[in-house]
Amino acid sequence: MRITAGLDVGSTYTKAVIVDEYGAMIGRAIAPTGFRLTEVATATLAAALGETGRTANDVAYVVATGSGRHQASFADIQVTDLTAAARGVTKLFPNTRTILDVGGQTMKATRLTPDARVHSFRLNDKCAAGTGAFLEKTARYMGYSTEEIGPLVDTSKGSTSISGVCAVFAESEVINHLSQGVAPADIMHGAIVSLVGRSVQLMKRVKLEPEFTLIGGILRFEAMGRVVREALKADVNVPEGDLVQYVSAYGAGLLAQRRLDVLGSSGAAKATA
């Protein structure tokens, strides 16, 4: 059976997915990206292959995506997160027209054509505002880890307004709220509401259309999807469980299968060294 690999070398985590010729995800792995990107990409791919009992030689085509995609130079091609996410999302939710991808360092809104191509997109500015890093820093100021964000927000009884979405200046605002006796859960909830406000603005700039699908590591926190639904006054798709982190890698693996189909039908051989 022909298998392909999708690698998402993200700013925080690297994800690898193995896809079979029917488009099924048959193996996956995740690891912190760190700063040795080529090594972690190779190791994560090997870990995903380990789940399938296949070896690197069995992989017919590798597509790399994510901010560190060019460091995975062993891949056959590098593609943007936008194209990879578009393919992964429309496999899971075929009627998707707008994607919001909130990662550790980036936020992207993409509008798709009916045939799942990228029609237009907007990215966040070059700062941590509106990204996962903003939530992480807010949690850290209050003494919580990233993994505690979800359970913390679940205990919130209401959100406290966080006006400054700058990850640096938010610290003084958080300290101010804490000194006034505001519950950390409500502050965290407020940070999510603030982040969602920026997200929705970004979606509006691509002329958002339903269906909406949310992806990215931040969607691990259930509150994020709930607040987006409230802000959009519409339902949104969110891949289940940790699949939300693998969507771009999965899309990259699907693109690899598609590329082999195109090359095969055109009679062209796969590029080789």
């Binding site: 943007t80 393919r87 191509r117 990228v118 990215l123 693109l255 590329r259 195109v262 060294a273």
Partner: protein
């Protein structure tokens, strides 16, 4: 023949070392090779984009220095030009006002209103001759060749006067031979880009061409003679990328980092970057009247650009020819901000590409831009839409 050598950094190195030295030289906004040339007693002709018959300056023993702007802040030059003008005018003047480079002669061409006025702006600021070379506007006139040879004779005499020599026909023929060799080597470089684009990155090929405007052409020939055989045998992974033509680099140059970014997304198999250094397409005769040979080459054996108007070379037809001959499947149509000739030509290009059903990506750039992320993602998304139909 020039015996002066100004760029020792590449010698004795392996391919990566040579390419690194070339990129470092191109990055250096202090133009060390031009300074070394002057320190050795040489004189410099600064010629503005797009085309200048460098053979004439070479035959007079001068260094033809290609003025293509630079990624520098035009602190002084900003006060000489309106904000509505393109960047290359300002940074080219800034290079000289700031004494990064010093000249004995400046030559510009009436390629656009702004460039036509450069000679006057330079002339008010520097004591040396600042001239306009009037290339023929009507390339098909029976008088064009004779007229152009006459213009070249004027430049020859001016160069001779400044250099303190009589520029003989023999010296001109020798220079033509040196430049013929250079043209041959540049054609080979572009053949590698076209046939095995994974062997040479877009920014590497660009740097190899561009440094030709910074050193004696004999030295550039030596560099290319060393590099090209190594490029041909270089072991590089062939990626699955779209083959594209880049159009829009005839005058102001895209920032080097942007060129690098474009090369990451696709294989640029042909382009018009620094087309003035590759304007003459074939070897010129090294017998007979050398100025007539140069004029003939300019008119009859030349490439195309938005600033030369020749009804035999309709730009959109020439672009389609370039796409066909390089087996490209898409085009990047770029233009420098505020560049009227470049932006105007985009209209005709777009119509022609639409008719030919060739996909294209339209963008603008400025030599001093510093953020390429969005443009790079837009371009990548464009090529991905082609790859994953």
């Amino acid at each position: 023949m020039s015996a002066i050598r100004v760029f020792p950094e590449w010698r004795g190195k392996d391919l990566d070392g040579m390419l690194h030295a070339v990129v470092e030289l191109l990055d250096d906004t202090e133009f060390p090779t031009v300074k070394r040339w002057r320190e050795a007693g040489g004189k410099v002709v600064g010629h503005f984009q797009v085309y200048f018959p460098e053979e004439i300056a070479h035959a007079a023993g001068m260094l033809p220095f290609k003025m293509r702007g630079a990624p520098i802040e035009p602190k002084h030059a900003d006060s000489h030009f309106g904000s509505y003008l393109c960047s290359i005018l300002k940074t080219s003047l800034e290079l000289v006002v700031s004494k990064r480079v010093e000249l004995e002669l400046f030559v510009t061409h009436p390629i656009c209103d702004a460039a036509r006025n450069l000679a006057a702006v330079f002339g008010r600021n520097f004591p040396y001759p600042c001239q306009i070379l009037y290339l023929p506007q009507n390339a098909t006139s029976p008088a064009a060749r004779t007229y152009l040879a006459g213009e070249y004779a004027r430049v020859r005499d001016l160069c001779g006067e400044i250099a303190g020599v009589t520029v003989t026909d023999e010296a001109l023929r020798n220079s033509i031979a040196v430049f013929n060799r250079n043209r041959e080597l540049l054609r080979k470089l572009y053949a590698i880009k076209r046939e095995t684009p994974w062997q040479v990155a877009m920014h590497e090929a660009y740097a190899l061409v561009a440094v030709g405007g910074l050193m004696p052409r004999e030295e550039h020939n030596e560099l290319l003679e060393a590099v090209l055989p190594l490029l041909e045998t270089r072991e590089r992974k062939k990626h699955d990328r779209v083959r594209v033509v880049f159009e829009g680099g005839f005058c102001e140059q895209p920032p080097f980092e942007l060129i690098r970014a474009i090369g990451r997304s696709c294989y640029v198999v042909d382009d018009d970057l620094l087309i003035g250094l590759r304007w003459i397409l074939e070897d010129l005769p090294v017998t007979g009247d050398p100025l007539d040979a140069l004029a003939w080459g300019y008119l009859e054996r030349s490439s195309y650009s938005p600033v030369q108007h020749d009804p035999r070379k309709q730009k959109e037809d020439m672009l389609l020819k370039r796409v066909r001959e390089s087996n490209a499947s898409a085009v990047i149509l770029a233009a420098a901000k505020m560049c009227e000739p470049g932006l105007e030509e985009q209209v005709a290009y777009v119509h022609a590409l639409d008719e030919a059903k060739l996909p294209y990506f339209v963008t603008e750039f400025e030599e001093n831009m510093t953020s390429y992320d969005t443009l790079e993602i837009q371009l990548e998304t464009f090529v991905e839409n082609l790859l994953f139909v």
